[in-house]
Symmetry: C2
Subunit: 279 residues, 2 copies
């Protein structure tokens, strides 16, 4: 057998994307080397080089819910595994080579800080395996705007519930941040943020976000560059953006397209809580 210089395709960078070449060098010492990037910032498999695959939203939602509970890896892991892990189960490499547990970093809005909803973060990251920002940002905005205005959770695992069985109340958070989304739900339903019921709410919401993300991904695969946004820019962002997000305006300071209302409408929660509180 002539194996010298014969190339093998395998692994995360290689098989599916044609980037990772393994070279058998020398008859005696059988050695395999993963392809190394040629120079700084060059990437095995190419930039955004993975190929997206269509999946079944309902099947992925169920797995995302399971993944949420698996060893407590939670929301970001749940959605990311529900998308990329499912591609791995169905299509093998490179998807099944991913170090999935890294997406536990999004738990509790990143190490319990309450920043981005981890489920949304996991979905946005998964999209970015396949699409650069010019194509991806519309997909992310559709997912995030759907989340802002939808009563969640919707998913009900029935007897497969791992936290609390039965109905869980829903609410519209108006926000993509974990802190606002969770705290408003807890306040509205008089549920402690540290309770099992709150965990169950987030587990079901993980399934919902995964399902919607797969729906968006499938639509993107079908439409390609003709993908049309499903949701318009929020009214608050349009209104505030007239001054705060318009080039040349003196007050063009506003970074971000989060719904403005939760933090800028003067509601009771925004009054000075450090003086004369509780009232």
């Amino acid at each position: 057998m002539e194996l010298d210089r014969r190339t093998l395709l395998c692994g995360l960078g290689g098989l599916a994307v044609g980037g990772g070449l393994f070279v058998l060098s020398g008859r005696e010492g059988l050695a395999a080397e993963a392809a190394a990037p040629g120079k700084r910032f060059e990437q095995v498999g190419g930039d955004f080089g993975w190929q997206p695959k269509k999946l079944d939203p309902a099947e992925c939602a169920k797995v995302a819910y399971e993944a949420y509970w698996y060893k407590g890896y939670a929301c970001g892991y749940g959605v990311f595994y529900g998308i990329v892990g499912m591609m791995g189960e169905k299509f093998g490499t490179p998807y099944n080579q991913f170090p999935f547990t890294m997406f536990e970093f999004l738990k509790g809005g990143i190490s319990d800080w309450g920043t981005i909803c981890g489920a949304l973060g996991g979905a946005a990251a998964a999209f970015a395996l396949f699409y650069g920002r010019k194509e991806r940002n519309t997909m992310v905005s559709d997912l995030f705007r759907w989340y802002e205005q939808t009563k969640l959770p919707i998913y009900n695992p029935g007897d497969m519930a791992q936290g609390v069985k039965g109905d869980i109340p829903g609410n519209v958070s108006g926000a993509v941040l974990c802190h606002i989304s969770v705290s408003k739900w807890c306040y509205a339903n008089k549920v402690e943020a540290t309770s099992k019921k709150r965990s169950e709410r987030c587990g079901r919401l993980t399934a919902d976000v995964c399902s919607k993300a797969v729906e968006i991904l499938n639509a993107k695969i079908d439409a390609g560059k003709d993908y049309k946004p499903m949701f318009a820019k929020q009214e608050s962002v349009k209104q505030c953006g007239e001054c705060h997000q318009t080039k040349g305006e003196e007050t063009n300071w506003g970074k971000g397209i989060l719904n403005c209302t939760p933090c800028h409408d003067g509601r009771q929660a925004l009054t000075d809580k450090f003086k004369n509180h509780p009232q």
Copy 2:
């Protein structure tokens, strides 16, 4: 040469972590297969299976700044490449097999939404390749609290500046969210959020966050489970948490340990901006 069933180690899951085995099967059809996870949620290389490596904070900061500007991949990519990419440059697989561009998803606080500062998100994700939440959360909190209270940016690329040369003013954001961090800096310095100067500020801040993250990672590698937190919980979080983050309290609604003050101290920005505005 007897190659049948002989195993080769290579690729992202394998060489450094001992998980990814490649089997040459059959003399004729030379085929290489990456190891597949045995069952759902099992992971090639094991959970949090990558080994952390010590790096030079100053060297990584410089690369993070370069990475920020590389094809506009920005903050999250910058910090993640500045850590994991540098491990790849120095130690090869599995680090250099990572599909790095996926971390462009954090640009502008995730697709320009202004949620988590992308630089912080990139660092938290890098930590999670190596450590599960019980060990990682303290590292993340140290980085985030340092960011909340430090005047940034500090880094100055000198003649290597890719956006704007010279000094850039700094400020203390008090917040880990992109929207607050960027908008307050723009407001304080009368700089448009869409300007090159603002991009330069975020590029330098990317270098700063990468440097601090590497410092924390190096300290963690040295200390192991004896790693001691560098920053205490914020006063606001302690105070609000007495009721809003204490089990058994009726008002235990508050998810997250973000500094409370930017959104709950009644400052002018928090009054009702949708009525009689501008004043």
